[in-house]
């Protein structure tokens, strides 16, 4: 894959069939990174250092590390001098604890332990959607009406988080934080939506709902009752409420109507704010980061996001690719490593004759294999670490000296294990490469920041800092 894929969606088949290192032989598996080199690198430090960047939105499929990415960027930006607030939606407990926000009180709290000399600060909060909804009601309705709304059973269910509420409230909170103007950078995590589109659809859906005839009909008794010209509407309404009443039960419908009537005066405000937040997301100070892992489903979701953001004219900064595997020994292919491991096992079997060769889990190797392996060495490109002339290193002649004792057998066993592990790693690399090639073929213009996989989870600020370093390290050395 030496040529840059052509832009546009038509490049799909090309990326799958013509490009990747997947279908080629053992010589290139996992080594060919030419396709990736064509992908622009997403530089995150300039993005968070730019005072013009006011909002960063992290979106993507569930389980790809959105929240961790948001938190790590927040820490890094604060330590580089920004006044940052991170809005997390549903963080894993220990991640929240790593920022000291294990209480869910819907207010940004200052995070202690931020090391910055330039007056940078980090605040973090968890979204409490019910609290956010309640606050809106309290702020925009007189006390008596507010109480009526808050006590309404329909409202209580709606605000406690049925489909969609979380998205509305995340948008609402973002608008609030921006309006407070206490921070010069807001980093937002997005809700784990049913689909990639919910978050973006929330403001519009709310708007269309509030503008809808249905709401007007529900409110009709209060508004149009008695006006002669609206009589037909009333007929329509009673027919409809009759149907709905049958379906939902009269009391429920009454609750809904009471709720809608009570909320009436607030709807205008909802709509205005939803529209404002939507425009805010399109503004130049906003940067969307699509977060993914090099897995098929996550990258497919990422592709949807990229397309959707473009359609909505929302500014995409690039793709953060988490949990990317690399290898410091990428010059040694999976096939050679496996063949060498089998040779070692075979040698061991000869040494000990105790039948432990079963460990290799494969049939006896053919005599040519070691020749093949040796031959493969000379064919490796010069840049690869294994391309050194053999004479500079302990060579085959030493073998006799190290065989025959238990320690030597252990070393051979160990070495075979190291080689198998490496073969496995190279297979992972090749697979990740294939899934990425597919994405790149579809969206060659999207800049990518790779984040090397960590063996464990993040528990503290130091862990977030480490992620921040990886986020901004540029291309992985040998991936």
């Amino acid at each position: 894959m030496t040529e840059k894929p052509t832009a546009g969606t038509g490049a799909d088949t090309k990326g799958r069939d013509g490009a990747g290192p997947d279908t080629t032989g053992p010589d290139t598996a996992g080594l060919d990174t030419a396709g990736l080199d064509a992908v622009p690198v997403l530089e995150l430090d300039p993005l968070i250092d730019d005072l013009g960047t006011r909002i960063i939105v992290c979106c993507g499929a569930g389980g790809v590390g959105k929240t961790t990415t948001a938190a790590a960027l927040g820490v890094r930006a604060a330590e580089r001098g920004r006044r940052v607030v991170v809005l997390t939606i549903d963080p894993a407990r220990r991640l929240a604890q790593s920022m000291g926000i294990d209480s869910l009180d819907n207010t940004p709290r200052k995070v202690d332990g931020i090391k910055g000399s330039d007056g940078g600060e980090l605040h973090a909060m968890m979204l409490d959607m019910k609290r956010t909804f309640d606050e809106i009601v309290e702020a925009h309705a007189e006390p008596e009406r507010a109480r009526a709304i808050l006590e309404n059973p329909f409202y209580q269910s709606l605000s406690a988080g049925f489909a969609g509420t979380q998205e509305y409230m995340a948008m609402e909170k973002l608008g609030q934080l921006r309006a407070r103007d206490e921070w010069d950078l807001i980093v937002v995590d997005t809700p784990p939506s049913r689909s990639a589109l919910d978050f973006l659809d929330a403001p519009k859906r709310l708007g269309s709902f509030l503008d809808g005839k249905f709401i007007k009909l529900l409110m009709a008794p209060a508004k149009v009752g008695g006006r002669a010209g609206m009589k037909f509407l009333n007929v329509g309404m009673s027919m409809m409420t009759g149907t709905l009443g049958k379906l939902l039960g009269g009391q429920f419908l009454k609750d809904v109507q009471t709720f809608v009537a009570a909320m009436d005066t607030m709807f205008g405000g909802f709509r205005t704010r939803a529209d404002a937040t939507y425009r805010l997301l399109q503004a130049p100070g906003t940067a969307f980061l699509v977060v993914a892992t090099p897995e098929r489903d996550a990258l497919r979701e990422a592709a949807y996001f990229v397309e959707r953001l473009a359609a909505e004219e929302m500014p995409l900064a690039g793709l953060v690719l988490n949990r990317v595997h690399g290898s410091g020994a990428a010059g040694l292919s999976a096939e050679r490593a496996r063949a060498a491991a089998e040779n070692l096992d075979e040698g061991r079997m000869t040494d000990r004759g105790d039948g432990k060769a079963g460990l290799s889990g494969s049939p006896a190797t053919s005599p040519e294999l070691s020749d093949l392996a040796t031959a493969a060495v000379s064919s490796v490109p010069e840049a690869a670490p294994t391309a050194e002339p053999a004479a500079q290193h302990p060579d085959v002649d030493d073998v006799d000296a190290v065989t025959g004792t238990d320690t030597d057998t252990d070393v051979r066993h160990l070495t075979a294990g190291l080689l198998r592990l490496h073969a496995e790693r190279m297979r992972v690399l090749a697979r990740e490469q294939r899934t990425r090639d597919r994405f790149t073929a579809l969206h060659p213009e999207v800049a990518v920041a790779e984040v090397a996989a960590l063996p464990g989870d993040v528990h503290d600020l130091a862990g977030l800092r480490a992620i921040g370093d990886r986020l901004t390290a540029g291309r992985m050395p040998s991936a």
């Binding site: 389980g63 991640l95 059973p153 709606l158 049925f162 410091g328 302990p394 252990d410 464990g456």
Partner: protein
């Protein structure tokens, strides 16, 4: 085995794949299973490499041994119109309601109605019978919302039955709840041997139990083999670099200690992961829910991989 098998799991753990494999595994000879999805993601179609599923039950696979797997992507709006038609012969009124935005309201904004419809449709499939009296489907497998929302999703009927205190929605909600809380149902949680998914699984099981929903199995997915044990890695980090380099050279892999270093780094990472997995296994053991274990499929969830997982599940007792 329970007739309704609900599969949940944290995002990224492969719950759609597990649900599909389970549907295949349950479709033993002469059996028929229905695989339903409720989140409108068309994950099943992508998995089986077919075009997007319509709102219609159609056969998508034949299981090893001859059973059949049907699939259905449940659409809340269509399900609501179905109900209106079924119970009230309201086809026309349904269209009028749709025009007014009432259907939109009911399926996206009105609390819980959407989830009631989705679970309701699945329960209807569980209960449905053929003319000769047998169940249409021996098992219904649901690719359900993720762990963080599963209890609320399944329990929504309780809440709705409380909100709509009378009327068909109330009755419908209660009928669904009777199925969901009975031994007819089992809720499985898919996890990886990683900290966050395991923690979510533990939390999810506690929530399900508190809501008296029947917990089925934990499904530990993507289990990878341990190539090297810890002792070996410790030995490797000792003074054996030269010996390893010689050993490598003996089979034609040159590069000396410069190659040994990254190999040892990888081994150290591997050892850390093995240790973390051991810890997470201990946490899962502490929950006291029996588990299925599925291997990591190197090349993602293609159809062949799906059949492999189904075979694995049968080996572990599914469909027996």
């Amino acid at each position: 085995m329970s007739r309704l098998q609900v599969v949940s799991g944290k995002g990224g753990t492969g719950k759609t794949t597990v649900a599909a494999a389970l549907a295949l595994a349950l479709a033993t000879e002469g059996k028929r299973t229905l695989l339903v999805e409720v989140e409108g993601r068309q994950g099943i179609a992508q998995l089986f490499e077919t075009e997007a599923l319509p709102y219609e039950e159609r056969k998508i696979a034949v299981a090893p041994g001859g059973g059949e797997v049907y699939a259905l992507a449940i659409d809340a709006e269509r399900a609501l119109l179905d109900y209106l038609q079924m119970f009230y012969k309201l086809g026309g009124a349904g269209r009028a309601l749709k025009k007014l935005g009432a259907i939109d309201f009911a399926t996206t904004i009105a609390p819980g109605v959407r989830d009631v419809l989705l679970t309701g449709k699945a329960c209807e499939a569980v209960k449905r019978r053929e003319k000769h009296g047998g169940h249409t489907y021996d098992h219904v497998v649901m690719d359900a919302p993720p762990t963080g929302r599963i209890t609320r999703f399944l329990n929504v009927n309780d809440e709705v039955a409380g909100l709509a205190r009378i009327g068909p929605i109330h009755n419908q909600a209660q009928a669904v709840m009777r199925v969901l809380k009975s031994p007819e149902t089992a809720v499985h949680l898919v996890t990886l041997l990683e900290e966050m998914p395991v923690q979510e699984t533990a939390d999810g099981i506690a929530e399900l139990r508190a809501a008296e929903l029947p917990v089925g199995r934990v499904v530990v997915n993507m289990v990878r083999p341990h190539v090297l044990d810890e002792a070996a890695v410790r030995a490797a980090s000792g003074d054996h670099r030269d010996a390893i380099a010689r050993s490598l050279a003996s089979v034609g892999v040159t590069g000396g200690t410069r190659l040994v270093e990254p190999l040892l780094d990888q081994a150290a990472e591997h050892a850390r992961r093995v240790e973390l997995e051991r810890e997470q296994r201990a946490v899962l053991d502490g929950i006291g829910v029996p588990a299925y274990e599925l291997p990591f499929l190197g090349d993602g969830g293609d159809i062949a991989g799906l059949y492999r997982l189904a075979k694995e599940l049968r080996k572990q007792g599914v469909g027996a």
